[in-house]
């Protein structure tokens, strides 16, 4: 039984379609990564599902949360789900917090809204949440303002606030992108630990494949408003099939092995107003055929459980007998 089930979700802004039918399932307690370059629709998918897009956006399709339809649902329905059952954290923590209110007050507000706690009980809960996300001496720092915390601590407070409603699903939209590498490692650790303790499901939106592999069970790769490949973390990283996924892996410089020239994906992400015909990735793809430029491939389940939208996928990488790391340079094209 899946917690969230998105079917054929489409979004267009002023007649320009940006999401072309997303299908996605999130199981209970599962951590799913959404990977892709900027503008591919990672965030829009969830903003649309939660009814957070501006009015000019036309949303169609279905997004069911525990059997309840969310797309174009009345505000009252959405408000019982948002924050309470599905919480969301964003990239820039300092712009998500109110700069002129004490963090304690902001935390207590969401505890009061979602849990009905008041007064001293809410304050005690706020301190417990701040402790939980690892803010030192929470009981004294609860009355400080957001600018008195560092960026990493602000993100911790945002996570505490998201946890206030004891959600079933946490959507983390690029939660570590604005942070330093060492702080990023701390936040990833924190998210993994909290998921272990509370058993909530998580959607981790990121363009950093390394971060996704660190905290997720499964990942979906998006390109130009479509899911192009979806697989378990291990399958996806050991044997990426879609040329775009392969390209993304190759574009990441390595920290070990010989120093080498980076391998870019040539060209740029297409403009949603002028999408190429056929597969949107075909103009940048090295294995595209004439067929690719005329017909859009659908997302098809493969024998190994991987979902793939490609006519000319990369061959399965051969897993060496010892160890399980395959160097990206060894992929057979």
């Amino acid at each position: 039984m899946s917690l969230v089930s998105i079917r054929d979700l489409k979004v267009s802004f002023d007649g320009v379609q940006v999401l072309h039918g997303i299908d996605l399932e999130i199981g209970e307690g599962e951590a799913v990564g959404l990977v892709g370059e900027s503008g591919c629709g990672k965030s829009v998918t969830w903003l649309a599902a939660l009814g957070l897009l501006p009015l000019k956006a036309a949303v169609s399709g279905s997004a069911k949360f525990a059997g309840q339809e969310l797309v174009n649902a009345p505000r009252t329905t959405l408000e019982t789900v948002r924050g309470g059952r599905i919480a969301m954290i964003f990239q820039d923590p300092s712009s998500s917090l109110n700069p002129v209110q004490r963090v304690g007050k902001q935390l207590i507000e969401s505890i009061r809204l979602h849990r009905g706690l008041k007064g001293a009980a809410a304050r005690v809960e706020a301190i417990r949440l701040m402790d939980l996300v690892g803010i030192p001496s929470a009981s004294t720092r609860i009355d400080l303002y957001p600018h008195e915390f560092s960026g990493g601590q602000c993100q911790r407070i945002m996570i505490a606030m998201a946890l206030a409603g004891e959600p079933d699903l946490l959507i983390a939209d690029e939660p570590t992108t604005a942070l330093d590498a060492t702080i990023q490692a701390q936040i990833l650790d924190l998210l993994a630990r909290i998921r272990e303790e509370t058993g909530m499901a998580m959607v981790f939106i990121s363009h950093d494949l390394g971060a996704v592999s660190a905290v997720c069970d499964r990942a979906a790769v998006m390109y130009a408003g479509r899911v192009v490949e979806q697989n378990g973390i291990r399958g996806l990283f050991e044997s990426p099939r879609h040329p775009y996924t392969v390209g993304l892996f190759q574009a990441i410089p390595q920290l070990d092995g010989p120093r080498q020239r980076l391998v870019p994906i040539y060209g740029t992400v297409p403009d949603p107003r002028h999408l190429p015909t056929g597969c949107s990735f075909s103009p940048r793809c090295t294995s595209a055929s004439d067929f690719c430029t005329s017909v859009q491939p659908g997302l098809v389940r493969q024998d190994d459980g991987c979902d793939l939208a490609c006519f000319n996928p990369a061959a399965h990488a051969v897993v060496p007998a010892y160890g399980h790391s395959v160097k990206t340079t060894e992929y057979v094209r």
Binding site: E37, S38, S150, G151, G152, Q153, D180, A181, T182, I183, Q184, A185, Q186, L188, D189, A192, H207, D208, L209, G210, A211, S213, A214, V215, F237, E238, G247, L248, F249, A251, I252, P253, Q254, L255, D256, R259, Q260, R261, L262, V263, P264, I265, Y266, T268, V269, S325
Partner: protein, 331 residues
């Protein structure tokens, strides 16, 4: 290789927080840095935000005069900012910023922006400028028909190419890139990094590459400087520093990079926040976050020690469990 730029005991202090009746407080952004940059090499500068990377870059270029210490450019002292000598030196050194849109004028076409430095420095007759702009655009991979576009009409990667073309217009000798690829997507990032590398090879540039992305730094740079709170804590060749980091901070930094395909196992997660330059810890500035710190680290400031061409500043270099035999000498 000859030394192009030499910085010695470079310090930068900023006075902040001057209250109406209170005393102003000083923040030491860069604290006594010695650095030699040889002609034709790419030096990477890594560290967390607030470690003084950008301030160091600006002082190397002479945009900011250091509070203490000196910068020697080809053996001569860097002139004070905004003097005629300093202005003449601008054509030899250029800076590339993180956010290309902020560095470009939104109301000028990109061809005009690339031409602007050539007009300011009057390096060539006006009628040759057009041809030079086209040559530069081709070099950085922009199409000729994009010449009359405005920055907003281009993608992030293309805008960064415009900034690079403009920086190269006067064939500079020295280029400081301050987080040039941080705002770009992975696939585009690789394109721009490769472009910078090719240009460095073709144009015989000397480059300082400031970044917090260790993976890019490792694959692009020859030599890497790790900064922590305004000081250099480790320096060495890119290959070695990432394969065998000496300083506990570098170890944590290298280990904090999420690697595609590996989970969260065996990672050193640093506790605590990046330190505040306004409230510098005593002794080794890294000691509150260090796994190996003891009372000595709290009391004594470690100096950079030399070991087989590598430099590291840690009191525990000899005794750390992961070290092999060391021949330490004072740097």
């Amino acid at each position: 290789m000859s030394v192009l730029l030499k910085a010695s005991r470079l310090c930068q202090r900023y006075t902040t927080g001057k209250k109406l009746f209170g005393k102003p407080s000083t923040v030491t952004a860069v604290d006594g840095i010695d650095l030699e940059i040889r002609a034709g090499e790419i030096v990477g500068v890594v560290g967390e935000s607030g470690s003084g990377k950008s301030t160091l870059g600006r002082m190397l270029l002479g945009i900011e005069a250091p509070t203490d210490g000196e910068v020697l450019w080809q053996g001569a002292l860097m002139p004070m900012p905004a003097t005629p000598k300093w202005r003449a030196l601008r054509r030899d050194m250029q800076l590339i910023f993180q956010d290309p849109l902020a560095a470009l004028d939104r109301r000028m076409t990109i061809a005009d922006q690339i031409a602007e430095p050539l007009e300011i420095h009057r390096l060539m007759p006006r009628e040759q400028i057009g041809a030079r702009v086209m040559e530069l655009m081709e070099k950085v991979g922009l199409r000729a028909d994009q010449a009359d576009r405005y920055p907003l009409e281009l993608s992030g990667g293309q805008r960064q190419r415009v900034v690079i073309a403009r920086a190269l217009a006067m064939s500079p000798k020295f280029l400081v890139c301050d987080e040039p690829v941080s705002a770009l997507d992975v696939s585009i990032q690789a394109q721009v990094v490769n472009l910078l590398y090719d240009l460095q090879q073709d144009e015989d540039l000397t480059m300082v590459f400031i970044s917090h992305d260790l993976k890019v730094v490792r694959n692009l740079c020859d030599r890497v400087v790790v900064m922590y709170l305004g000081r250099i804590v480790e320096e060495g060749s890119a290959e070695e520093i990432f394969a065998r980091p000496l300083h506990p901070y570098t170890q944590a930094l290298v280990s904090s990079v999420p690697q595609a395909g590996t989970g969260m196992t065996n990672r050193i997660v640093l506790q605590g926040e990046p330190p505040n330059p306004a409230a510098r810890p005593s002794g080794c500035a890294f000691h509150p976050r260090c796994r190996f710190a003891d009372a000595a680290c709290k009391a004594k400031v470690p100096s950079l020690m030399r070991d087989n061409g590598r430099l590291a500043a840690c009191l525990k270099l000899r005794t750390l469990p992961f070290q092999d035999e060391k021949q330490l000498t004072h740097a």
